[in-house]
């Protein structure tokens, strides 16, 4: 199914022959939809405290959805038992304790919002469990001709009907700061009228915390779908969940990925598929039939209310994988660091043209002059790499060097920009 989508999207790559594609401002038509309810209810068979998110649709200009507070949320099973969800934060509804939903039992989600509109889902069955058999990595060249590491997943099932899976991953990798320095900024005096009356001041001192080796963590944010529908057996072999190019820093030292497999039914698969299609680019050659994306939740007692979202039940299985760079690329150069650390700079303590005058007994700094050094440190941009030996020396033009320190981007010096300096609980070396 995934492959098919790729082929069709080949058509999308082409702009128009004699025409043009340009951006335009759509008329503001957001009011048409006065905030439809969005239900994000993805419940698995894990024994845990489950969460359902309720929001409203929001205009393009807005950054965040409006949380839907005060709703009554519960899940009914086919025996009439009810599981209540309580609002723990605006728009976030949790079960009061860890619960487990049963396989092959049907559940219905029911929501009543504060405006009295009732929503209910279709009865959904909890799919049977399919375990992740193996997660492994392989060095290969991918479809866009990039060399790298593919994270592949296998599973096996004897059911006669095809299986549909959604994957998420949680990857953790070691970050080693290339320009680590045991010293770091200490005193930062940004008050021109300090008691010592010595103007602005920056000092360095030995670090108290380790900032050399860190553990970065990233979660998947795209929709990864697989199925056995087009396969001769009901086994998924070598399905690529993640591809990391050789230019991806994540694989530089030691890398770990937790592959999370959600086994859901075909209707859920088709919903996620549509969701995926809607956000892909398109052109005249491939217009996906857009429209209101119908999920499995219906409005019960209103003609105007609209609901988006899905009540997904899935059985869950996960597997973790570790590998080192040398396992696949022995004696080969490492991928570049996350940022470019070639550049060393020396921001001045006082800006060029800094000038202060005394007016009515007060010292007033002219203009909006700020200290480039102190501003950079306070903004978390600069890391200490050494003292400037030429500080305050006068050059041939008669100008004094105003840079007390040599600096680099903070991420080059302090890996905590990218991760945590303590290894996570699951971390295993070698």
């Amino acid at each position: 199914m995934k492959k098919k989508i790729k082929w069709l999207s080949l058509l999308c790559l082409s702009p128009v022959f004699f025409g043009c594609v340009e951006e335009f401002e759509p008329e503001n038509i957001t009011e048409v939809l006065e905030g439809a309810l969005v239900v994000d209810a993805r419940i698995s068979d894990q024994n845990m405290q489950h969460t359902i998110f309720l929001t409203r649709t929001f205009p393009f200009e807005a950054a965040m959805p409006i949380q839907e507070s005060g709703a009554q949320v519960n899940i009914l099973d086919d025996l009439g038992n009810s599981i209540n969800f309580l609002e723990t934060a605006p728009g976030t509804y949790n079960t009061s304790s860890a619960i487990t939903l049963q396989h092959n039992r049907a559940y219905t989600l029911e929501i009543t919002t504060v405006d009295g509109v009732r929503y209910s889902s279709n009865a959904e069955a909890m799919p049977s469990r399919v375990e992740v058999a193996e997660v492994h990595a392989e060095r290969r060249v991918n479809s866009s001709e990039t060399e790298g590491i593919a994270i592949l997943v296998d599973n096996q099932d004897k059911a006669s009907q095809p299986n549909y899976f959604r994957y998420e991953y949680d990857e953790t990798y070691k970050v080693v700061a290339p320009d680590f320095n045991p010293f770091t900024w200490d005193v930062i005096d940004y008050d021109f009228f300090c008691e010592d009356d010595d103007g602005w001041e920056v000092t360095v001192a030995p670090r108290g915390e380790d900032a050399n080796i860190c553990f970065a963590n990233e979660k998947s944010n795209d929709i990864i779908l697989a199925s056995t529908a087009n396969l001769t057996s009901n086994n998924l072999d070598d399905y690529e969940v993640r591809f990391l190019g050789t230019d991806n820093y994540a694989i530089s030292h030691r890398y770990s990925i937790l592959v999370k497999q959600y086994h859901h039914d075909i209707n859920a698969a088709s919903f996620f598929n549509s969701l995926n299609d809607f956000s892909s680019s398109e052109s005249i050659f491939s217009n996906v039939q857009t429209g209101q994306l119908e999920g499995n939740i219906n409005v019960e007692n209103s003609d105007v209310a609209i609901v988006f979202g899905y009540f997904e039940l899935s059985s869950y299985s996960e597997k973790r994988l570790f590998f080192n760079y040398e396992d696949f690329f022995p004696n080969e150069p490492l991928p570049p660091y996350i940022i470019n650390c070639d550049f060393t700079s020396g921001p001045e303590l006082y800006p060029e043209g800094f000038h202060a005058t005394v007016i009515d007994g007060k010292v007033v700094i002219d203009g909006t002059s700020n200290s480039p050094l102190i501003d950079g440190i306070l903004a978390g941009l600069l890391g200490y790499v050494g003292d400037n030996e030429n500080y305050l020396e006068v050059d041939e033009a008669g100008e004094a060097d105003g840079s007390p320190f040599l600096t680099k981007a903070l991420g080059c010096v302090d890996c905590r920009v990218y991760g945590n300096n303590t290894p996570p609980d699951f971390w295993i070396e070698e």
Binding site: V16, F17, F18, C20, I29, G35, D40, F60, S270
Partner: protein
């Protein structure tokens, strides 16, 4: 005056007056005053047996065996050869037998032992009644009674008619003294002198009388003429008006060979016979002539009858660059496009920008968008009946053009003079340079090319038999990314045998085969190379007949049968390294048949009714597998009940039913009429596309166990009026249309290579209605037309299940619902050589589904779309201008040339073709695309020899 010795009045005319045959002239003059009317009696018995012997030889033999001398003009007897045999006949009977099949009569002067052969006429051996006054009337009542039916003798003096008539006076029939009537029946066929084609809808009028008739589609006519001298005048669009003198002696035939009306060449006219629009019974029909459309400025100077069709009311497309036509609110798959009787599935090249028909070999197209004639069926919305020219049967002719994108050559080769010919056309595109010259780097590697070729054989074996055969192939190949090559092709073959059984009945037997296919070859760097193929093939046998039962009834009836075979697609790995797993979907097969009968009934001079019924039948055949779904549940993977396997040829499901084709016309005055029609139809195959536009990878799907045929009903009513001797035509036509089981697709449907397409499609109902206004000026320096259409096209997918519902089950506008549509096509001729033309289009913007907000799900933001087609893109308008320069009109030159300089989209209007939305960096961006955002100039050079 004595009754026994009446003088003979011998009436002669041109041959013996014109031919200076002194012997015969003298004899006849003598005879004029001396011959006495007596029937020859002779004792001589004659026998003979002649096979393909010249008449002259036979006559001379008779002369030698009897004592008679026979007089005749060589011309009369030299051309005929006869086969006759007789035993022991008297001279008179022998002569009767010999001359039976000729136009010759004879007169025996017994006492002089002379026989005079006469062409056409007879010797009147008595004067017409009242010749010498009326006093004898009462004295011979018996004679009067006998002669009431006799026509007066025809007097004709060539010398008094010194007009520059090109045509000799036609003499028809052989006078039969025993069967003299006041009127005789004349029939024949009208033929275009240059092309040898039948001239249909030629108006034939008898001067000085109200007798008028019109030739039928095969150019045949029949009318009753007063005996004797008549002048008939003929008129038709594209035919030089002319007059013929005809002298009627008896029933007979006369073929009219007609010159083309040269004044037509420069005009932009949707060809119609002078008053056809007013007179015929059917509503919603249009005709476009390929040659005459040449002045209309179109993109890149390509002549394109399908683009011209879009300028007519009721016909549109989703937008520039959208393949397919939407006729009266119907979907693009609802048009039956025929090229020489065989279906052509994709008559367009290059995403609909060019027609896939060679403009030089194409004669024209008849479009039926309202009342579809009973012989056609299988599509709901319209019929485009495209015909290829018959080749020149006289001499080699050719036509060609060189444009910025295509080169084109067509040749007409006579094979047997006046009988058969071959037309060959080929056309190719060299568009690659345009793509390469664009700034956009991503297009520099793309290429696009197309080709179409056609060959038509035509043989008019004789008056009763005509054979035609057409072979056609077109292919498009384009690649947009460097690793994929797309192609699609049409192939068709048709043969047709027209046969005239008798004066009343004509028939045509048609055998056609069509194939349409597309493929994708993907050859990238990775291990995912594949080839993909889809094809549909159909073979049709059709036998249609037309019988003119009597003055009032003309019957059309026939039978047709079609066999479909569809390969819905397969994917195969390309090369050993490909990891693609092959996918095959079962082939589909079906038969479609129809039986029809129509009667055009002329109830009175004013009221014409066309009644037709057609029975359509369809059977989906195995081998194959079909799923059944639980009743009362939406069709999806979880409601599958059973999977049924069918063996080869086993019937999976049958559909069908009667279709009515009814129309009526009432003439208020000869140039003002009202018409109404009703028809319904079935359509058994559908296109599957999740695109809003038809792209070459749209697949055709046959109805099966789960997908029902579409059905449609249309009623229309219109008023038609011509002014100033048909110089202006005005029509106003309204229609209302209902459709059932129309296909649309669930949101985000994945249709390609899906074995269970029924879970992705919706079948709902549609309605469309509109009013079409058309004003045409057919003649003069300024000609062209103005069309305005108000129309709506709405669909509804109502189901109790939300997944099978669109827009809450309410009617919503289709993708091509464009309520206001104005088209103006105008051509102004300064001189014979120079003319300018303009083409203006305004349309309401088409409906789109807008994103109306964002929703957050699964930690990502997605676009929330409005109800389907709730909004519209901005209105569309475009102006094209062209200058047409005819080559000089010198007689001595190699070829006649014609240059078109045109600018498409003069205003440079950036007409949005579609709007779409992309999620980039978590942000939703709105983009609009247009096809021709700038003025596109072009020069095309056409030549003709």
């Amino acid at each position: 005056m004595s009754n026994s010795t009446k003088p003979i009045i011998f009436i002669g005319y041109s041959p013996f007056l014109a031919v200076k045959s002194s012997r015969f002239f003298f004899i006849l003059l003598v005879a004029l005053f001396t011959i006495i009317a007596t029937r020859a009696q002779t004792e001589v018995k004659l026998s003979g047996d002649y096979l393909n012997t010249s008449l002259k030889e036979v006559i001379l033999k008779i002369e030698s065996e009897t004592a008679y001398q026979i007089y005749f003009i060589d011309e009369w007897v030299s051309n005929d050869s006869i086969s006759v045999s007789f035993q022991n006949l008297e001279l008179v009977d022998a002569l009767n037998k010999i001359l039976e099949e000729t136009t010759l009569n004879y007169y025996v002067k017994e006492d002089e032992k002379r026989i005079f052969l006469l062409e056409n006429t007879i010797v009147y051996d008595e004067l017409p009644r009242g010749f010498f006054g009326r006093e004898e009337t009462s004295s011979n009542p018996n004679s009067v009674a006998v002669r009431t039916n006799a026509p007066p003798p025809t007097f004709y003096n060539e010398n008094t008619r010194k007009t520059k008539r090109k045509y000799a006076v036609a003499r028809v029939g052989k006078s039969d003294p025993n069967n003299l009537r006041e009127t005789y029946n004349l029939k024949g066929r009208a033929i275009n002198a240059r092309t040898g084609e039948a001239v249909q809808d030629l108006a034939i009028r008898i001067k000085g009388s109200s007798i008028i008739t019109v030739t039928n589609e095969s150019g045949n006519y029949e009318l009753e003429l007063p005996a004797g001298y008549n002048v008939i005048s003929v008129r038709a669009m594209g035919i030089a008006a002319s007059e013929r003198e005809v002298i009627m002696y008896n029933d007979g035939s006369l073929d009219l060979v007609l010159e083309e009306g040269l004044q037509q060449l420069d005009e932009v006219v949707v060809e119609a016979d002078a008053a056809k629009n007013v007179e015929e019974a059917i509503t919603g029909s249009e005709q476009i002539d390929s040659e005459e459309s040449k002045n209309i400025p179109l993109v890149l100077g390509e002549r394109d009858i399908l683009q011209v069709a879009k300028a007519l009311p009721g016909i549109s497309s989703a937008g520039e660059g959208a393949t397919g036509l939407n006729v009266r609110g119907g979907k693009t798959d609802q048009n039956l496009v025929l090229l020489d009787d065989a279906v052509i599935y994709n008559p367009q090249h290059f995403f609909g920008i060019f027609q896939a028909l060679n403009p030089f070999t194409t004669k024209g197209v008849d479009i039926y968008k309202g009342a579809i004639p009973v012989e056609f069926g299988g599509r709901l919305s319209s019929v485009f009946d495209i015909r290829t020219k018959n080749g020149n049967v006289e001499e080699i002719a050719g036509e060609g053009s060189i444009g910025p994108v295509t080169g084109n050559l067509a040749l007409e080769l006579p094979l047997k003079k006046d009988h058969s010919s071959l037309v060959i056309g080929a056309r190719g595109a060299y568009a690659d340079w345009i793509l390469r010259s664009l700034d956009d780097e991503s297009l520099n590697n793309s290429n696009a090319s197309f080709f179409d070729g056609i060959m038509k054989y035509h043989n008019k074996i004789n008056d009763n038999n005509e054979v035609k055969a057409t072979a056609y192939y077109s292919r498009d190949a384009f690649s947009i990314t460097s690793d994929s090559l797309y192609n699609y092709s049409n192939r068709l073959f048709s043969t047709r045998w027209d046969h005239r059984f008798n004066e009343k009945t004509t028939g045509a037997l048609v055998l056609g085969n069509s194939n349409y296919g597309f493929g994708i070859d993907f050859d990238g760097e990775a291990n995912t190379d594949f080839n993909l193929d889809y094809s549909i093939n159909e073979t049709e046998l059709k036998y249609k007949l037309r019988t003119i039962l009597n003055d009032k009834n003309s019957l059309d009836y026939g039978i047709s049968a079609k066999y479909y075979s569809v390969n819905p697609g397969s994917i195969q790995p390309d090369g050993n390294e490909s990891n693609i797993s092959p996918i095959f979907i079962d082939d589909e097969q079906a038969i479609e048949g129809a039986l029809y009968l129509g009667d055009e009934i002329k109830l009175s001079d004013k009221l014409l009714v066309d009644l037709g019924v057609r029975y359509a039948f369809f059977a989906a055949l195995g081998s194959g597998t079909q799923r059944t779904y639980q009743d009362g549940l939406p069709r999806n993977e979880s409601t599958v009940q059973d999977t049924i396997s069918y063996g080869g040829g086993e019937v999976i499901e049958t559909y069908g039913g009667p279709e009515a084709r009814v129309s009526a016309r009432y003439l208020f005055t000869p140039d003002f009429s009202i018409k109404a029609s009703f028809n319904n139809s079935y359509q058994f195959l559908h296109t599957l596309s999740n695109n809003t536009t038809v792209s070459p990878i749209d697949t055709w799907k046959l109805s099966d166990l789960n997908i029902k045929p579409q059905t449609g009903y249309q009623a229309s009513l219109g008023l038609y009026k011509n002014f100033k001797e048909n110089e202006y035509e005005v029509s106003l036509e309204g229609y209302y249309k209902l459709m059932d089981n129309v296909l649309d697709f669930k949101t985000g449907a994945d249709l390609f290579l899906n074995e269970n397409v029924e879970t992705e499609v919706l079948q709902g109902d549609g309605k469309a209605y509109g009013v079409e206004f058309l004003l045409k000026k057919n003649k003069g320096r300024l000609n062209g037309w103005l069309g305005y259409t108000y129309s709506r096209s709405l669909y509804r997918f109502a189901s109790e299940f939300s997944e099978e519902r669109v827009n809450n089950g309410e009617f919503f506008p289709s993708n091509f619902d464009k309520p206001h549509d104005v088209s103006l096509i105008a051509n102004y001729r300064f001189t014979r050589r120079y003319s300018v033309s303009a083409n203006f289009v305004y349309q309401t913007g088409r409906p789109v589904t807008y994103p109306i907000g964002t929703f957050r799900f699964n930690n990502a933001d997605f676009v929330a779309f409005s109800n389907r087609n709730e909004f519209r893109i901005p209105d569309f308008f475009r102006l094209d201008l062209g200058v047409n320069i005819e080559g000089n009109h010198k007689k001595q030159k190699l070829a006649h040339s014609f240059v078109t300089i045109s600018v498409y989209n003069v205003l440079g209007r950036n007409n949005p073709y579609s709007v779409f939305f992309v999620t980039e960096d978590g942000e939703v961006k709105a983009l609009q695309s247009s096809i021709f955002a700038i003025p596109i100039p072009s020069i095309t050079y056409n030549f003709k020899f």
